[in-house]
Amino acid sequence: MVNSGGLQSILRKYEGNPHNLLQILREVQEEEGWISPDRVAALETALAVPRSKIIGAASFYAFLHLQPVGRYRILFSDNITDRMLGNQALMEQLCQLLWVEPGKVSEDGLVSITTTSCTGMCDQGPALLVNGRAITRVDEARIVEIAELVRNQAPLSEWPEEYFRVEDNIRRRDILLDSHFEPGSSLRALHARVETEGMQASNTRSWREGLPRGLVGPATMLDEIKRANLRGRGGAGFTTGLKWEACRNAPLAEGQDRIVVCNADEGEPGTFKDRVLLTSYADMVFEGMTLAAYAVGARRGFLYLRGEYRYLLEHLEGVLARRRRDNLLGHSIIGIPGADFDIKIHVGFGAYVCGEESALIESLEGKRGTPRNRPPFPVTHGYLDQPTIVNNVETFAAAALIALNGGEWYKNIGTAQSAGSKILSVSGDCERPGIYEFPFGVRVVEVLEACGARNTQAVQVSGPSGFTIAAHEFERRICFEDIPTAGAFMVFDQTRDMFEVARNFVHFFAHESCGFCTPCRVGTSLLKNLMDKLHNGHGSPYDFEEIEKLNHILQAMSHCGLGHSACNPVLDTIGKFRPAYDARMAHQDFTPAFDLDRALSQARQMTRRDDEQAHFAAEHGAAQ
């Protein structure tokens, strides 16, 4: 238990600043297992934040607990790739071994077991989290051992190291992963380039004249990024140079700073490249952030690390500390007067929507992760209303590479509109799942060959919000001109049921909808219910029309990209894998989703009956 002294030291560490509320709550929970009403009351006083705001913020995040969740909190990753590897049976096995119902805390308060969205271990699944720590390659034997460890109340530190081993699984390296990056080399290369090439004008004079310091260097960095034609690696592909320039040009009010944010909230199911970059290329990422800060004139930076990667925190703090020692962070970086910049790590708590940049900023400010109304955009009004750039982990790593080798070199790699390389996270039905870096423009079939995929039925590119690619499209290319991607590449062979793939994705969106806007909050749940209705054998052509109607509403009326894309997997699979749906069209006429026999399942559970007399002999075969 944290005594009040413990709470005081947490508060001191975060300067008693209410904007750090979520990090304070995280540290309290890491010590006590949950956030008790006493702690909420103490924080209400110490931070002068109303209780309703603390509860409102904390209850938004899946990994913050306002009720006790058991001394062992076990969450099975529930991406489709985990399902394909048998996670459902493994979870059932563990529940039976520990005598606990999924989603509930055991009566002795020892353990709770449930599912969570993709934890980013798809190449080494099935995966789970125990008290926030990732366990990979779970199988039946390991489940038996885990049950034993929990029953014996062994502290996590005594669990076998092997459980927590996370592999990089880098299978193909290209310009970025093969760069043998030396910390500081990009900063020094940029510094040298400024002296040799001088001012390369591609920007307007107005802002250059307004630069407070380091006139030539920032302009040179921005020029190189623009010359490289670098585009955001988070999926949307916005031109990085334009974003940085807009932030650079945004006026600063009294007391404001510019802010650089690295979006490491890698929540898109099937994506895990950022985990590998942060594990083995952290210097490159931080150096890219430092270069960005130099270019836009920022002094403060944040790395928003998804909660599932909490285990990387100490490693990343270590890299930051070394960089501070080596004068690659801090004051007058590599001796450039006025080049002051430092980075703080903000750990997230299980909310996919925080990958959306304005929701991420809300979360950084200690609030619910609800996407903002835009405009204004973060480049002018971001973190605490200050000009802010938010870029993907891979974008910053690419920026470091560009500073090192020059924009001219970079833009000649890839395709006309997609310069450079793309790191793909390959998982699913293939021999060698893992990380593959290809120049942009690589054909889908080339990736399939490289990873050893056979009898492939479909590929889900860029995760549930991306595209379902069928066999006749395997000649298409991964690039912004054809199939843009944030990095996920999930392979499904002929044995897979594409309806179940889509249903898994729809459940994901319903679980991750922030609830702010009506169409997404209600629409994703309605869509989930419709897909479950088909799954339960009550589908009819009427339900197709309903799905199409919901899709239209979600696309037209939703507040952010989550709602806009929530129907994509359903529409893609209906269009390309119609037989998987037709097989579920048990009825030509409308059939209600309500099923009297299923409605009685709770009564059966309460009376512990499952005999014939406890069932309605339903006409449509609903009795199971």
């Binding site: 009351a41 209780r51 705001k53 319903a510 806007c517």
Partner: protein, 239 residues
């Protein structure tokens, strides 16, 4: 007021900084809305006020008017989409108009009538939302909450009390009050608070007022909601 945009073929003048819904309201044109209130910073969450600006869907409560914009609002397509949103709000909560004290004064009900909603269409969610009758003067019936956050904004920005807040996520989002007990009686809410006045539906009700105005003589019984366009507050600053 020299500049204008076009709304459903009608020229609408606007002042700099005004949103589309503000300018439309000033011109007496009704755009359906639930979470928008002229006295508060727009929230943009209910999406009822969605219009098409130059062919693209956008919430008119947050979109700034600009000269020459072509805005569609009162079209069959948009009203059908809005009707679906209202149906979503109906099935998400527990709305039993015949037994609700707010019937006739309820903006959700009035908007459903305005949009010609004949049925809830979707399967009801039937959420379990206990009422809070702890307060001697006020009743909270969360069954009817549409998460517009007007009470949250009013309590925070006008009353400076933060009595209400949104909690939870997604379909589990819900309204909470600022008390360790979770009960309204243990907050510093007062009858005259702005937050108590702004609920567009029947969540925040004053006790012992039931049926003082008979059904049939209430706000929207007399004139449909489109006839009650509230004038926008004076624009003191950019929103």
């Amino acid at each position: 007021m020299s500049e204008t945009f076009v709304l459903d073929g009608q020229e609408i003048p606007f002042a700099p900084g005004q949103t589309i819904i503000q300018a439309a309201s000033a011109a007496g044109v009704y755009i359906p809305r639930l979470c928008y209130h002229p006295e508060f910073k727009p929230h943009g969450s209910c999406k009822l006020c969605t219009v098409k600006v130059n062919g693209r869907h956008t919430a008119s409560c947050t979109f700034k008017a600009a000269p020459g914009l072509q805005v569609e609002s009162n079209t069959e397509d948009l009203n059908a989409e809005r009707r679906t949103l209202v149906q979503m709000l109906f099935v998400e909560g527990n709305h039993f108009c015949p037994s609700c004290e707010k019937s006739g004064d309820c903006q959700l009900q009035a908007t459903a009538y305005e949009l010609g909603m004949m049925s809830p269409h979707f399967d009801h969610f039937f959420p379990d939302r206990p009422v809070d009758a702890s307060h001697p003067e006020l009743l909270l019936d969360f069954n009817r909450c549409i998460l517009c956050s007007l009470c949250v904004r009013a309590s925070r920005d006008v009353d400076k009390k933060n009595v209400f807040a949104l909690a939870g996520r997604g379909i589990d989002s819900h309204l909470i009050v600022n008390a360790a007990s979770g009960r309204l009686a243990d907050t510093n809410v007062a009858l005259e608070d702005k937050a108590v006045q702004v609920c567009p539906v029947g969540v925040i009700l004053k006790k012992r007022q039931g049926f003082k105005v008979p059904i049939g003589q209430r706000t929207y019984d007399e004139v449909p909601i489109s006839g009650h366009v509230p004038a926008p507050a004076a624009l003191t600053e950019e929103i």
